[in-house]
Amino acid sequence: MKLSIRKTIEDVSLAYHIPTEVIIFYIKHEWIYPIDRENLLLDEEDIARIHLINELREDFGVNDDAIPIILHLIDQLNYFRVR
């Protein structure tokens, strides 16, 4: 059992120059499931996933409808990679 970091949306926003609205937008779309939903705290997985979504949207020009599909396929891919 490893302990992982917990960061507020504001902390993540400051640390990585990502507007808080963007993070909240991802959470609202359920692309990000904060590790602590009650207090809206993010862990390393959440943060890495936010970066991934940013790259998909900004660098690759993926539209928002396709984001969840790609995320899920990536999750499947990772799942099978681990197995």
């Binding site: 990536i74 999750d75 891919l77 799942y79």
Partner: protein, 302 residues
């Protein structure tokens, strides 16, 4: 010092748009989350860094003037030396390598299973509880009535002690949480159910807490009364028959029924008067004499 133009495969005169296009093209090919491979991670970092250096008009002019952000360059090179991980951005697929929440627990709102089926025609990736398993255990009538303890071995070798409660009915199931089929992808194990089948015991039936039996008696025993031997689940006992007992009368033997000690039901014994197999002429004659002397009406209301 790296050459971002070379890495992105564009000329120094390329427009920001062209650089962006070149970067996107390469990024799609090399993004470590989309392209599992040893090299993609490092290559992706290179192109991401190159893009950072010349991806915007401001950065590009800075770079072209040779004023590249030294600190950024250094930071990048240090992080490359330290390990393959890009310091600035945690790598998503690395967070998913062991117990990634996202890759193990799939979103239920968005039906991944359907998508997966569309692509691969089968679904087996979700975490599922193991199947419940049903076993049959045959026990004796007496064990069911009085309760007992049995050790059974499940197919996977696990031995479980089964406490059979007194008075268990045929077909009842006992549940053993978590001893069923193993969960799929870390899902919880299913439950094991042991269904009880109670072996028949000739002459004995159960009615709640009571055990019902029938005892045949001769007409002489029925008239004279007396003690007769009656089987119970604890062995034979002597049952006192009152004189003149009727066919179908029910006699009670207390404490020989179903249940735990001191709280057992009763055995209810039904009298079944049995005629002689053959009526001997002398017997018939004797009875005729008796009936003249002691006649009674069997059909009057009593």
């Amino acid at each position: 010092m790296i050459d971002p133009y070379k890495i992105l495969g564009v000329s120094k005169e390329a427009t920001i748009d062209e650089i962006k296009k070149a970067y996107r093209k390469l990024a799609k090919k090399l993004h470590p989350d989309l392209n599992p491979g040893k090299d993609s991670e490092r290559k992706f970092k290179d192109i991401a860094h190159a893009y950072d250096l010349i991806g915007t008009a401001e950065a590009k002019s800075k770079f072209d003037r040779g004023e590249t952000d030294e600190q950024r360059q250094q930071e990048y090179e240090e992080s490359m030396r330290a390990n393959t991980r890009r310091a600035k951005r945690p790598s998503y697929h690395q967070t998913q390598q062991n117990t990634g929440r996202y890759s193990n627990v799939f979103d239920s709102d968005f039906n991944t299973q359907d998508i997966f089926e569309q692509f691969f025609g089968r679904a087996q990736e979700t975490s599922k509880p193991g199947e419940d398993e049903l076993y049959n255990l045959e026990i004796d009538f007496k064990e069911a009535a009085l309760g007992s303890e049995k050790v059974i071995t499940l197919p996977r070798g696990k031995k479980i002690k089964v406490q059979i409660p007194a008075g268990i009915e045929d077909g009842q199931k006992l549940r053993f949480k978590g001893l069923g089929g193993p969960g799929i992808n870390n899902g919880p194990s299913g439950d094991a159910y042991v269904q009880i089948s109670v072996k028949k015991l000739s002459g004995f039936t159960r009615a709640g807490q009571d055990i019902l039996t029938t005892v045949p008696v001769s007409i002489f025993e029925a008239i004279s009364g007396g003690e007769i031997e009656v089987p119970t689940i604890d062995g034979s006992v002597m049952l006192k028959i009152p004189p003149g007992v009727n066919n179908g009368s029910k006699l009670r033997i207390s404490g020989k029924g179903v249940g735990v000690e001191n709280y057992r039901g009763n055995q209810i014994v039904t009298i079944n008067i049995v005629m002689p197999k053959q009526i001997d002429p002398a017997f018939k004659e004797a009875m005729l004499k008796l009936s003249n002397q002691f006649s009674y009406s069997a059909r009057d209301a009593r």
